[in-house]
């Protein structure tokens, strides 16, 4: 969908589904996602079983609502899903059989188009990578592996338990198991980083022939300070240890080094045949994440699981992050029917929504049509960015970020919001 400031948003049926699985073997000190680790994730006191059952209930309740609003799946007003995405956390901690039955329920209640993208995030350690063959049999087409770095010492510095060899094993197992598209996540600008260390991680990752790469500058946020960790917030409070780690690491980051690392990646990946289709994402032809494009194109998606966000084209809605409250609502009780979990929502005004659509679209390589760049109120900011060399106009008359523009995109985006 092309951004258009004059459009009045109306609710639309989802074309994608995001499912959040909030369990990991251990917590990473830089991670802000809704995650529980340790006994909650593994062993006799694991909360996976009750989670799966509550998740099934949420999927049913959400489907009921969509049926009411848009008709049953397959009807004219209710297209089947083009993408399902299990994020986390470490969704591969769920047994492949559970995944299969969840997907079967999704297929029944939401519809899934033939050839849909079905992604599962995975961690590479032997205890957490799951059973890729089983996942493939369940219908999973894409695996996104949290490799982060390809050097043991660097991984330890990030608080990661796996080794570079584990990444190679995970990729091999996925390929062997029949997963058709494999992505790796990598981090740069980590404490003690250097250009050479980053180049080496990138080369070693490329040697595994991934189909997709997500490259993220390490981001050390404080969701508490942003007011996101309250009882209805979509984030969990940062642990004291993680907070200390972030405070220690912040001064070890370096803007110039990060920019050079990004620029190196742009060049190196172009040579390797990758297409940088979004600020932080590169793919081999045909392997761009269709799910993530839903977000950037402003399409509608449904979501389930603690802390998960959904969008219907008009309203952004989220579940509260706390597993207890989420489970309690969905489990119901004596005299209390299962109910949708607590959370929040936000309706973005027409002007803000238009700006948001432009910002998201500009994150991608398609950018926005040149015509959008000449419509007030965005015209001044976009013209400024064209003059400053952050934007450029393509042959097919679209406006896109330059490499410098990607690195300095907030300078433009903060003028658009």
């Amino acid at each position: 969908m092309e951004p258009d400031a004059t459009e009045v948003p109306v609710p639309r049926p989802p074309v994608g589904l995001y499912v959040h699985v909030p369990f990991c073997v251990s917590l990473c000190p830089y991670c802000d996602f809704v995650v529980l680790a340790g006994a909650a994730a593994r062993g006799p006191r694991s909360r996976l079983a009750s989670f799966v059952s509550a998740l099934a209930t949420e999927l049913e309740l959400r489907a009921d609502r969509l049926d009411g609003a848009f008709g049953p799946p397959g009807s004219a007003g209710r297209p089947a899903l083009a993408s399902v995405y299990f994020g986390g956390g470490t969704p591969t901690l769920l047994p492949a059989g559970e995944m299969a039955s969840l997907l079967a329920r999704v297929r029944e209640r939401y519809g899934i188009v033939p050839g849909a993208e079905i992604t599962v995030e995975a961690n590479p350690g032997p205890a957490e990578r799951g059973d890729p063959a089983g996942l493939a049999r369940a219908g999973v087409t894409r695996l996104s592996v949290g490799a982060q770095r390809m050097d043991r010492a660097e991984l330890r510095r990030l608080g990661r338990r796996h080794d570079p060899d584990d990444v190679a094993d995970a990729v091999r197992a996925a390929r062997g198991g029949g997963i058709g598209s494999i992505g790796l996540d990598l981090l740069y600008d980590i404490p003690g980083d250097s250009g050479a260390a980053w180049a080496s991680t990138l080369d070693r990752a490329l040697a595994l022939a991934p189909d997709h790469l997500s490259l993220y500058a390490l981001t050390l946020d404080d969701p508490g300070a942003e007011g996101l960790t309250g009882p209805a917030g979509d984030h969990l409070p940062t642990t004291a240890g993680a907070r200390r780690w972030r405070e220690r690491s912040r001064p070890q980051q370096d803007e110039d080094r990060a920019a050079e690392q990004y620029e190196h990646a742009v060049e190196r990946l172009a040579v390797a045949g990758f297409d940088g289709y979004e600020i932080s994402n590169w793919a081999q032809p045909g392997h761009a994440s269709r799910h993530n494009l839903i977000y950037w194109r402003g399409d509608a998606w449904e979501a389930a699981g603690p802390g998960a966000h959904a969008f219907d084209g008009r309203t952004r809605r989220w579940n509260a992050a706390r597993l207890d409250g989420w489970t309690a609502a969905l489990a119901g009780g004596p005299g209390r029917a299962p109910a949708l979990p607590p959370g929040g929502h936000e309706e973005v005004g027409a002007t803000a929504a238009a700006a948001e659509r432009v910002v998201l679209a500009l994150r991608t390589e398609r950018g926005v049509p040149a015509a959008v760049a000449s419509v007030p109120p965005l015209v001044d900011a976009l013209r400024w960015a064209l003059d400053a060399g952050l934007l450029t106009t393509t042959a097919d008359d679209r406006v896109v970020l330059t490499t410098r523009g990607r690195l300095l995109s907030n300078e433009l985006f903060s003028r658009l919001v």
């Binding site: 500058a217 390490l218 803007e255 990060a258 990004y262 966000h309 959904a310 907030n410 919001v417």
Partner: protein, 640 residues
């Protein structure tokens, strides 16, 4: 600071109904001029001030006097009754002079009317002190029995002696274990020639000696003289603005009797007004029918502009005017100047209104519009000193809800132009003519008195030398403490001299200064250029020898404070076209949100909105965005 007051709940200037509007009317009218007692004849009036160094207990003693004379009942009592401004309570200082009428039945069985005229205690406000003292015949000198004489003690005593006042010396805080009354009495005797037998030992905190102070006021301070039947002459020593009563002036009646139905005339402004009300301060305003020669009270003029009833003017009665006004006061003289600018340009009209209103209550600062390339539209303001500047800025921000930015404080230079083209006064460094047009620049000097433990003499010598100061002499107050005299350019004093003085002496030294005329100096204007554009708000005038150091400090500090922009930004310090220091802010390389997936969109939009707000709060110099903090930090820069 001594004890702190609670929330400001006592209605110091409560609206008291005027006679005729339901006020307590006395049966025999003019015979009863106060609501509480009979007319007090002139020989039983005493007008006095309390003078003290800051923190020596002036406000606590005033509180105790009010309590003991039942002027303020216990249930209404709170500390620092006379300091009604929140700022005064917080800083533990008196900013504005106040007056209060006490009625005291002395040991001789007779009732006396005591007018206490409060005085500010900080060096910046010695002008207000001298005004208050002119309305008095006596002064209570409060000295902390543990601290001894401080710089402000000396300054205030000299002011009081200049006015020919009777001084009642009081050693306060004798209840403290660290009190050394013997040593301090010795100091008073040696330094101020105050005989020890005159000294009253007291503790305002626990009440010790306070009855003796009241007796001493009655016995030692002479009653005012002045002819109650002569034409009215009343000196205005302070004023405030009341939205119902107009300008309320505080007066000391030198001669004559003022009645509540009189039409008054202000002799300097020639304004006339039917007076709305007159009365005493108890300390709230209490209306009476008449004020007689020797009294201290207030007159509600109904005038809408303080310019019509300025401090120092003489009030007379229109029906039988006096022929000559009283001598009046010298006008308050601004020593420190700075530009005040609203943080956001659209607040300019609010700032203008705020200055106008504040000026009604504090006529001792000046303001006139100016504009700056870097800061937009604002006002050039003149202040009595740095503390005064801080207070005015804080009052504007608090009482009028403004966000302000102040340019670097400056003194007023005198510039003689070349080729006999005359002279001009420059209080804004940005307006200094170019070097080739200047024959001579003169700057104001001060003489500085510092009282300090003798162990810090070395440190203070060094400090004053680094500020182009000249040592004049020293005098031992006692074996441990010494009075140092320096001369110094005022410009060197206003940067952060006081803070340095305190930090280098662990807070033990105190200081006071007096103007000492203008002297020529080898001064230059140092401009700061950001990306080649001069930032007028950062221009400063400095001694040529110091310019390289100051220039280097300025550019280094700015390099730290100016965030990286999308292009490289050179920062230069220059004298004319001669660049003497340079730093570079490297271009920004990266400002990007790494992740922006479904769950991030709302959060990241808020983050971008915050970045946008941050940018909007920045000031633009050419194409460079400079945070307010950069200006503030440069303002606070001193040599460390």
């Amino acid at each position: 600071m001594t004890e702190r007051a609670g929330p400001s709940c006592y209605p110091l200037r409560a609206h008291v109904p005027t006679p005729g509007s339901g006020a307590p009317a006395d049966s025999d009218g003019a015979a009863l001029v106060t609501p509480r007692g009979p007319v007090i004849p002139q020989e039983r009036l005493r007008n006095f001030s309390i003078i003290a160094h800051i923190d020596h207990g002036k406000s606590t003693l005033a509180d105790r006097l009010l309590e003991l004379t039942h002027t303020v009942e216990g249930r209404q009592m709170m500390s620092q009754v006379l300091d009604s401004m929140d700022l005064e309570r917080e800083k533990g200082i008196t900013i504005k002079a106040r007056a209060v009428r006490l009625e005291y039945t002395a040991r001789d069985g007779r009732t006396y009317g005591l007018n206490l005229i409060d005085t500010p205690g900080h060096v910046d406000f010695s002008y207000e002190v001298s005004r208050s003292l002119q309305a008095c015949e006596g002064a209570i000198l409060v000295v902390d029995a543990a601290q001894g004489i401080e710089a402000q003690t000396l300054a205030n005593v000299h002011l009081a002696l200049r006015e020919g006042l009777t001084i009642i010396p009081v050693l306060n805080k004798i209840d403290l274990p660290s009190a050394q009354p013997e040593v301090v009495m010795e100091e008073l005797e040696n330094v101020l020639a105050i005989p020890r037998e005159e000294v009253i030992l007291a503790s305002a905190k626990d009440g010790t000696g306070v009855p003796d102070i009241l007796e001493a006021i009655v016995e030692r301070i002479p009653p005012p003289h002045g002819d109650a039947s002569a034409p009215v002459k009343a000196l205005i020593f302070d004023s405030h603005y009341d939205q119902y009563k107009g300008v309320v002036v505080y007066v000391r009646l030198a001669h004559g009797t003022l009645h509540d139905h009189d039409t008054i005339r202000l002799m300097a402004s020639r304004a006339e007004a039917e007076l709305l009300e007159l009365g005493f301060f108890r300390p709230q305003l209490v209306a009476v029918k008449q004020l007689r020669a020797g009294e201290v009270g207030y007159v509600a003029t109904g005038l809408k502009s303080v310019r019509d009833a300025q401090v120092g003017d003489t009030i007379t009665a229109a029906r039988r005017p006096a022929s000559e006004p009283l001598p009046g006061y010298q006008e308050a003289k601004s020593l420190v100047f700075a530009g005040l600018y609203p943080l956001s340009g659209e607040d300019y009209p609010l700032l203008r209104d705020a200055l106008e209103k504040l000026h009604l209550n504090d006529a001792s600062f000046t303001y006139e519009p100016e504009s700056s390339i870097a800061l937009g539209f604002g006002f050039r303001c003149g202040f009595l000193g740095l503390l005064h500047m801080e207070i005015v800025q804080e009052r504007l921000e608090r009482e009028f809800d403004l966000d302000l930015i102040a340019s670097a404080p400056s003194v007023e230079y005198r510039v003689e132009l070349t080729h006999g083209r005359g002279a001009l006064a420059v209080d804004n460094p940005a307006l200094l003519p170019s070097v080739s047009e200047i024959e001579v620049i003169e700057e104001p000097w001060v003489t500085l008195n510092i009282v300090t433990p003798s162990s810090y003499i070395g440190a203070l010598m060094e400090l004053s030398t680094s500020r182009r100061g000249a040592f004049l002499g020293m005098e031992y107050l006692d074996p441990q403490r010494v009075l140092l005299n320096f001369e110094m350019p005022l410009a060197e004093l206003i940067v952060d001299f006081y803070d340095q003085l305190k930090s280098r002496t662990q807070g033990y030294a105190s200081m006071d200064y007096e103007e000492a005329g203008y002297r020529p100096a080898n001064l230059v204007k140092l401009d700061v250029l950001v990306n080649g554009e001069p930032v007028d708000a950062l221009s400063l005038i400095t001694h040529r020898d110091k310019a390289p150091t100051v220039g280097r400090q300025l550019t280094e500090k700015l390099k730290e404070l100016i965030p990286r922009q999308m292009f490289e930004v050179p920062i230069q310090a220059a004298i004319g076209s001669n660049v003497i220091a340079r730093e570079t802010v490297r271009a920004m390389r990266k400002n990007v949100l790494a992740k922006c997936y479904g769950g991030d969109i709302t959060r990241k939009r808020k983050l971008l909105e915050k970045q946008k707000e941050g940018k909007q709060r920045m000031k633009r110099v050419g194409s460079v965005e400079i945070p307010q903090d950069a200006f503030l930090a440069v303002l606070r820069m001193g040599d460390s």
